[in-house]
């Protein structure tokens, strides 16, 4: 009986000790293996705009391609940019014109989203400066004449081409990027743009500016959309 109680005491004491030791060991382990400190991936994300590729196939008057990239600089701040090429034919009742050119956009993205541990999604706002180098062709036009029923309308097909046109603009973005597979992101964004400068073709106007999109008679503003797929090349990890 006595012996039994002794052994009981001993076992429980051993149990307590082992628990203590194990707790102690866990603490040591935590410091060593970083299982609580969450690290996030930093690197270069490269992608393409799927909407432009899709439109190129679906619309006969549009051809476009854009590659985009961002580099994570700080926890929430990314350097971002886009490089693209577009060709768009605009036809109205009285004229048809084709704009063709390349563009470059550069700026920053700021992630506004507070991720759960282990997730690295983005809801971001961004700022870009855009620059486009393009040319515009006036394919055809019909003289606007409400009295044309007398002599008849005739379409003037003279391919007047304006080359070496440039335009620059500022852009505010709002978008999201979700990691759907490891390092593979799908993103969606919209852009509000304001034209800073443009070279006006003589006796014509810029109807479409590659990168900026269509222009409006009402002013210097424009809008755009993007639907991106991108892949993150992780370069290093850093605690969040």
């Amino acid at each position: 009986m006595k012996m039994k109680s002794m052994s009981k005491y001993f076992i429980s004491a051993l149990g307590c000790l082992s628990l203590l030791m194990s707790l102690n060991a866990q603490e040591v382990e935590t410091e060593a293996s970083d299982s609580i400190v969450v690290k996030e991936k930093y690197g270069l994300r490269l992608g393409a705009d799927l909407s432009k590729i899709t439109r190129s196939f679906l619309e006969t008057d549009y051809m476009g391609f854009e590659i985009n990239g961002d580099y994570r600089l700080l926890k929430r701040l990314y350097i971002a940019g886009e490089l693209g090429s577009e060709k768009k034919t605009t036809t109205t009742n009285y004229l048809s014109s084709t704009a063709k050119g390349t563009y470059l956009k550069a700026g920053v993205d700021y992630n506004m989203y507070e991720n759960w541990a282990g997730m690295e999604n983005l809801i971001y706002s961004g700022l870009r400066f855009g620059f486009s180098n393009f040319n515009q062709t006036l394919n055809s036009y019909t003289i606007y004449d409400t009295n044309s029923l007398t002599w008849g309308q005739n379409e003037v097909v003279d391919t007047d081409s304006f080359s070496g046109l440039t335009s620059g603009w500022i852009e505010i973005l709002l978008g999201l990027k979700t990691e759907v597979l490891n390092n593979l992101f799908i993103g969606l964004n919209m852009q509000i743009k304001a034209r800073l400068f443009e070279s006006e073709p003589d006796n014509f106007e810029n109807i479409y500016i590659p990168g900026f999109g269509r222009t409006y008679d009402s002013g210097k503003f424009g809008i755009g959309f993007g639907y991106n797929i991108s892949y993150l090349i992780p370069l290093y990890k850093k605690a969040r």
Partner: protein, 170 residues
């Protein structure tokens, strides 16, 4: 919640993108017609209406072309559409035109207007309009000429129909 806001904003932006400035508004200044006003040969400063005035266009092969919206009426001025694809347009102007008589009665005089065209950009929706610089205005002489003399009042460009471009004495 944040995502919902984002999508609402996206939809709002899509609405903006559907803004239609691709339709040419009716108020846009169109390619102007040439405005001729008729004055009294005896008193060149006084406007004198032409009884039964009626105009018919003549194409390059001298075929008669009816002018859209042109009706016989006694008036002191007339608006004539010029051909946009030529530098010259001819018209037959009738005085005392009566289409009921057979053959039609009235006194036709043929006028020839030569002009230079300048094509001016308006907007994406309306495209271009033509403005004209009238070079010559001539009245073909015949035995029974009712238009005696003429004077081009607008020697610069004809850009609208609010002014008199040519003065004709009869």
């Amino acid at each position: 919640m944040k995502k919902q806001h984002l999508f609402l904003l996206l939809i709002a932006l899509l609405q903006i993108s559907c803004e239609k400035d691709d339709v040419c508004p009716a108020t846009t200044q169109t390619t102007p017609r040439i405005i001729i006003e008729f004055y009294d040969i005896a008193a060149p400063d006084e406007i004198k209406a032409v009884p039964g005035l009626f105009a018919i266009g003549l194409d390059t092969n001298a075929n008669e072309v009816p002018i859209y919206n042109e009706l016989v009426s006694t008036r002191s001025s007339i608006a004539l559409p010029l051909q946009n694809n030529s530098n010259q347009t001819q018209f037959k102007l009738y005085e005392s035109y009566n289409p009921i008589d057979t053959p039609v009665s009235g006194n036709p005089d043929t006028i020839t207007i030569t002009y230079e065209i300048e094509t001016v950009y308006v907007s994406r929706a309306c495209g271009y309009i033509n403005n004209f610089s009238i070079q010559t205005f001539s009245i073909a002489s015949d035995n029974d000429q009712w238009m005696i003399n003429s004077e081009i009042l607008i020697t610069t460009q004809v850009t609208n129909e609010n002014e008199i471009h040519v003065k004709v004495l009869h």
